[in-house]
Structures are given as C-alpha cells and as structure tokens.
C-alpha cells in the first residue's frame, strides 16, 4: 500500500465471478452470467461496510467469494491475518484455507436452514471449536455456555435442538456459532430480512453491541436501505455485478452521486404517512446479468442518461474524498438524498418511548 497506512483488513481487487450457463445433453456452455464483474473495495478493521442492491446484483456472490465459499473466476482477495501478514485467499485450495477459516465467519439469512436441525446447540456452536483443535469436551461446554450468554440465550439450552427456538433465537444461535472462534471479519448476509419486524431490532442491537465489545469488522449484505443506514459506516451500492457507488454512509444517504442510488433511496417506503412524497419510481426491470445492456448497465432505466451512457461503460471514480461513483455525469448532477433529520423533528411517538427503551 502506498503511504504509511496500515493495510486494510480486507481488500478486494477486480473480483470477478462468472457462472457458465449450460444446456443440453452434453452440458455445453452457451453463455456467461457475469454475477460479479470487476468489483474492488476494502474494509478497514473495526468498520461495517454494507453491500446493498436488489436481487441478482451480485452482493451475495461477492460476500461468498470473500469467504471463499465459492471460488472467484479472477481477482484478488487480500486478507490481513492475525500475524499481520497479507494473504491472497482468492486462489487458495480447500486445505490451505482451513487454518484461515477461523478468522472470517458468516451470519446467514435463513435462521432455519443455517442450523443443522439434527444437532443440539452444543454440537452446532461447539463444532467450530472442535474442528479447530479444542478437543476437551468440558472446555467446549464452558465456551459454548459463555457464547450463549453473550448472545442473550440461557446457557441451560445447551442440549436443545434448533426446532425449540423461534426465528430470532435461531439467529442468535447462528451469531454465537460465528463468534465461537473469535473471528476478525464477520460477513452477515441479510441477517434480519427473514425475521419478524418486532425481532429485527433485537438482532441489529446485538450485532452492534458485539461489534463494540470485540472490535468486529462487518461486511454486511442487505437490500433494506433503512437497515443498512442504521448499521453501516460505509456503503457500496451494487447494480448488475458492479459497484456503482461507494461512500461513507452519511454521504451516500444525504448526497448520493449515482442516479441508481437516488432511485433506490426514493423507492424505500417511509414508515410515516406524512412523508408520502413519492418521486417518480424507477421504470423497467433490473438488467439481465447474462445479457447486460451496452454502455452503462443502468442507462435504460436512468432518467439522466445521455448519448455517451449508451455506448461507453463508466468507471468508478473518486468524486470527493472516499466517495466513489461510476457515472459519466457524476460531476454535473445534483441528486436528492434523504431529508436529514425529518424523523428527529417528528414528535416522539406517544408516551411509550421511554418505557420501551428502558425495557430494552
């Protein structure tokens, strides 16, 4: 790295993941889905970076490549290990990855499918400990109990199976498993989107508390912008396999630089009927990553599109400090973000606020 700065915990350079489309008896390759197409970003130690976008934008594939749950087609994934050495994990084999696994863990979206229903909590949370060398059973029991307490579950639940728990509780179990090995990077793939509304806040609070307590670094994948705003330090917006904008959270929400970000922000339904000022909704559908349009992938839906957008793909460029935008017209456009403080000005809802928070 240039300068005396410490290398970030994670640096992804020109990541690509192409999925072949196969067809027919001989499974011949007839096309390519460019699920992740030249994506670069970094995550500093202790921060939370969100990848946000609509379905099929490649955010989950990017996260899975980073964890090496799948092998990227090309690109570099530089991970700074505990010993302060930087390793490119993109090409490592299964065996080479195993000692690194404990340093990056994942929290899954689906609280049902992410826990093996045939194993007790002890086996589920204790497995990472066991395969990473904690052979002593009593030691494992102690550690699992400690983890359960940490995520707010009674340690007596050790011998229960996942089916004894509600969605929110299962998500806590998943978090306990992810934390078992004291990871340095936690990838959270839509951790609250499958939960009941009234439970989401509990899980978000827990994840933020754990971050403060252990200095965790989060790579947070989500489609819900309200959750993203709440959770992240920086945000990267993805569209059809590419990052179209990346900026500190405040900047991105208040002064977006890419028309797609603007459209996303305006499309989020506000939980306040007095804010019903719907701007024109985005027309059309997300482009097909197997057959993307020419030029800027967003141009068919973009209301600011000009001739060059149809021909030339834009590059991700730094607009302001730390604010990267991939748009030909980034410098000339003034786009609308969310109105700051609108909600703060709102009267506190009824009298229950204090009681509710004190209870929490």
């Amino acid at each position: 790295m240039s300068g005396g700065d410490k290398q970030p915990l994670l640096q992804v350079k020109n990541l690509r993941k192409l999925f072949p489309i196969r067809k027919g008896l001989l499974r011949r390759k007839i096309g390519l889905v460019r699920a992740v197409d030249d994506v670069s970003f970094h995550v500093e130690e202790g921060e939370a970076l969100s990848l946000v976008g609509e379905s099929g934008c490649g955010k989950t594939t990017t996260a899975r490549c980073v964890l090496r749950a799948i092998k990227p087609t090309s690109g570099e994934i530089l991970f700074r290990t505990e010993e302060d050495t930087v390793i490119d994990v993109s090409g490592l084999s299964r065996r080479e990855l195993r000692p690194l696994r404990s340093q990056m863990q994942m929290i899954f979206q689906d609280p049902v499918s992410s826990l093996n229903p045939r194993m007790t909590l002890f086996d589920i949370i204790g497995e990472p400990l066991q395969v990473n060398g904690m052979r002593d059973r009593q030691q494992r029991i102690d550690r699992v109990e400690e983890l359960l307490r940490l995520v707010g579950l009674p340690p007596e639940y050790l011998q229960r199976f996942p089916h004894a728990f509600s969605g929110g509780q299962r998500q806590r179990i998943g978090i306990a498993r992810a934390l078992a090995l004291n990871p340095r990077l936690v990838v959270a793939d839509e951790p609250v989107s499958a939960l009941d509304v009234s439970v989401q806040a509990q899980i978000l609070n827990l994840m933020l508390e754990l971050q403060q307590q252990f200095g965790l670094t989060y790579l947070f994948v989500a489609h819900d912008l309200s959750v993203v705003k709440h959770f992240s330090d920086r945000v990267a917006v993805m569209y059809v396999g590419q990052i179209v904008e990346m900026a500190p959270s405040e900047t991105l929400f208040n002064a977006p630089g890419h028309p797609y970000t603007e459209a996303l922000l305006s499309a989020v339904p506000q939980p306040d009927p007095r804010l019903r000022s719907r701007r024109a909704a985005l027309q059309g559908d997300v482009a097909d990553p197997a057959n993307p349009p020419s030029g800027c992938y967003f141009h068919p839906r973009c209301r600011y599109a000009v001739d060059i957008c149809r021909v030339e793909p834009p590059k991700l460029e730094e607009l302001d400090k730390d604010h990267f935008v991939s748009c030909h017209r980034a410098h000339e456009l003034t786009l609308e973000g969310v109105m700051v403080g609108t909600r703060a000005e709102r009267q506190p809802i009824a009298g229950a606020v204090s009681q509710v928070s004190s209870k929490a």
């Binding site: 509600s166 009941d196 509990q202 309200s226 705003k229 969310v338 606020v353």
Partner: protein, 339 residues
C-alpha cells in the same frame, strides 16, 4: 349522503379457527374492521397474526381444517329489487354459486407469490381471456382485446405480444402486474392484495404500489392491502388495522396510527423499526421476546408477555376488547378501558 357513510365490507368479531390433531389454533380471534368504498385499508401484522387467514375468510377460501366459527362478514351492495342491501358472507356456501359470483365479480385477490398463482402451462393471455369470458358476456375475440387493454392498463409494455408468453418468461414485477390484470378482469369493487410486493425488489415494489394507487383512482375500487411492512402501509393506506396473534389490537386513520398510536404493540413496533431518516448506529428500542407460536397463545391479552405496560392481574386474566379511544381510533387494551 347516507350512502357515502356505508362501508363496502364490514367484518365483525370474525373468528376462524384451525382444528388440528395437536389442538385448536385460533388463527383469527376477534377481528373487526370496515372497508370504505374507494379507500385503501391496510392490515399490518407479523407472522401468525392472522392477516392472511382473515382475507381468506372473507373470500371463503380457508383451507381445512380451518373453519369460520363466529362473527359476520357483511358485504354491502346497492339494494335493487328484491336484492337486500347486504349479505353475510359467513352464511354462504363456501363453493356455492353465490360465493363464486362474489369471488369473481365483486372481490378479487392478488397473491404474494405470482409465480405459484399463475399457471405455468398456459399463456398469460389464455389465463386472462378465461377469466374475462367467465365474468363477462363477450366473444373470444372481444375478450382478447379486453385482455390486451388490461395488460396495457397495468403498465405491461407491448401487451399484445405478452399475451402469448408464459408466466416464467416474465420478470417478477411483470408477473405481479399480470396477476393484477387478471384480478381486474372482472372489474371488482374490492381488491384484496396479500403481500403483493413482498417477493419484489424495492424499485419494483415502488412500481407496483404506484400502479395500485393509480388503478384505484381510475376505478374507484376499494383495496385491502395486507403487509408486514409498515413503510408500505404508511405509503398506501387510508385506514389501518393492526393485528397481533389473530386479534385486531388497534385500528384507525393512517395518520393517527403512525403519529398517535394507542396500543402498546403499535407504539413499540413503530419505535423498533430502523428508518432511513433515523440516527444510525444507536440502540433501537426493542420489543422483548418473539411472536409466540399460535399453539402457545398467551392467556388474556395475547401481547401481555411482551408488553411494556403490562398490568399484573388484569392483562393475563381477561381479554380486552376493541373500544373507541379518542375520536377516530379504536384499541384493544386495558389502558383505555376505564377512560
């Protein structure tokens, strides 16, 4: 004048239970609300709150072992000749001719998952034309023209060509539009949309919500919108019904529900959701615990184990009933019982 006051549909103390081997699930326990003509009623609630079962009860398509065990569902019409001014849907044969006619001509339903509610082996056009022929006295050719016109109205580009396509050839958003077109084919007075945008992306969701609103303006139909997303409710609804574990806990005009909620559940729910406008990275107020499974429905007020205002000795012993609070709202809570 009198006519304007009259709702199009009135649900009163509806109870729909599921009788299973393991026990009785009281999926809807005392739901009451009115749907005003030309307005949108939002029903909001989390999993197991009975919102879907409620609308299934209205359409009389509750699957066994579910059964409506009490209450009334009154559908109001213009009295004409010997036709009475209203009919109680709970008293009709679930698959009798009257109910069939109501399901087709007066009330239509749009499902959450358009992929599973559209037939994969028939073209969009075929399904739409079938629906039109069933409800209108027109020839097949006229039906085809109406079908194309409907697809145009729901904003599907080059509608004539789309008639020949199958549901799997359409994107999620277009599929939901096609579903809406089929629902509109009989020109319903009441459109029920059950989580119509849950399976969609946020930009597509915006399109569908816009579409529903503009269709409502054009046709003056009433909409019941079911969702778990408070944002969608705030955006769309005129009146709101909040349900929790089968019960209507609060109802009222949308502005009051969001700015002066009365029931502790509504209050805490609104507090707990992160907003794009709220301050980031602070602890959100939470509701403790999680939604109980319908089998383990708590006694008394179903919300009492999670309620910040729980009155010991009252809430767990008696079930509160919906009573007016303030001018336009009603809540089902002991906090307001004595007032």
């Amino acid at each position: 004048m009198e006519n304007e006051e009259q709702p199009i549909l009135s649900v009163r103390n509806l109870k729909t239970f599921f009788f299973m081997d393991e026990g009785t699930v009281r999926a809807v326990e005392d739901a009451s609300f009115d749907v005003e003509p030309g307005k949108t009623l939002g029903i909001v609630g989390e999993s197991g709150c009975g919102k879907s079962v409620t609308v299934r009860s209205i359409l009389r398509i509750v699957e066994r072992p579910g059964r409506i065990v009490g209450g009334q569902i009154l559908l109001y019409r213009n009295a004409a000749g010997d036709r009475p001014g209203h009919v109680d849907l709970t008293q009709l044969e679930a698959n009798g001719p009257e109910m069939l006619a109501i399901r087709g001509d007066e009330i239509a339903l749009v499902f959450q998952e358009p992929m599973t509610s559209l037939s994969p082996v028939h073209t969009i056009g075929n399904q739409l034309i079938e629906a039109i022929l069933l409800h209108r006295q027109v020839s097949r050719r006229e039906a085809r023209e109406i079908a194309a016109e409907l697809l145009h109205q729901v904003g599907i580009p080059r509608p004539a060509g789309r008639l020949e396509e199958y549901s799997f050839q359409l994107s999620g958003g277009l599929r939901q539009r096609a579903m809406i077109a089929i629902a509109l084919s009989c020109d319903p007075r009441l459109l029920i949309a059950d989580e119509p945008t849950t399976a969609l992306d946020v930009t597509t969701q915006g399109q569908i919500l816009d579409l529903l609103r503009s269709l409502q303006e054009e046709r003056g139909m009433a909409i019941i919108l079911i969702t778990h997303d408070l944002g969608v409710i705030a955006e769309m609804a005129d009146d709101v019904v909040v349900m929790y574990l089968g019960q209507t806990v609060e109802k009222g005009p949308v502005d009051d529900i969001f700015h002066a909620p009365k029931h502790p559940y509504t209050q805490s729910l609104l507090q707990s959701i992160p907003s794009i406008h709220s301050r980031p990275r602070v602890n959100l107020p939470t509701i403790s615990g999680s939604v109980p499974h319908p089998y383990n429905r708590p006694s008394g007020c179903p919300f009492h184990p999670r309620c910040p205002e729980y009155i010991v000795g009252t809430c767990e012993t008696r079930a509160p009933s919906l009573a007016p609070v303030g001018e336009r709202q009603e809540a089902s809570c002991f906090l307001y019982e004595d007032a």
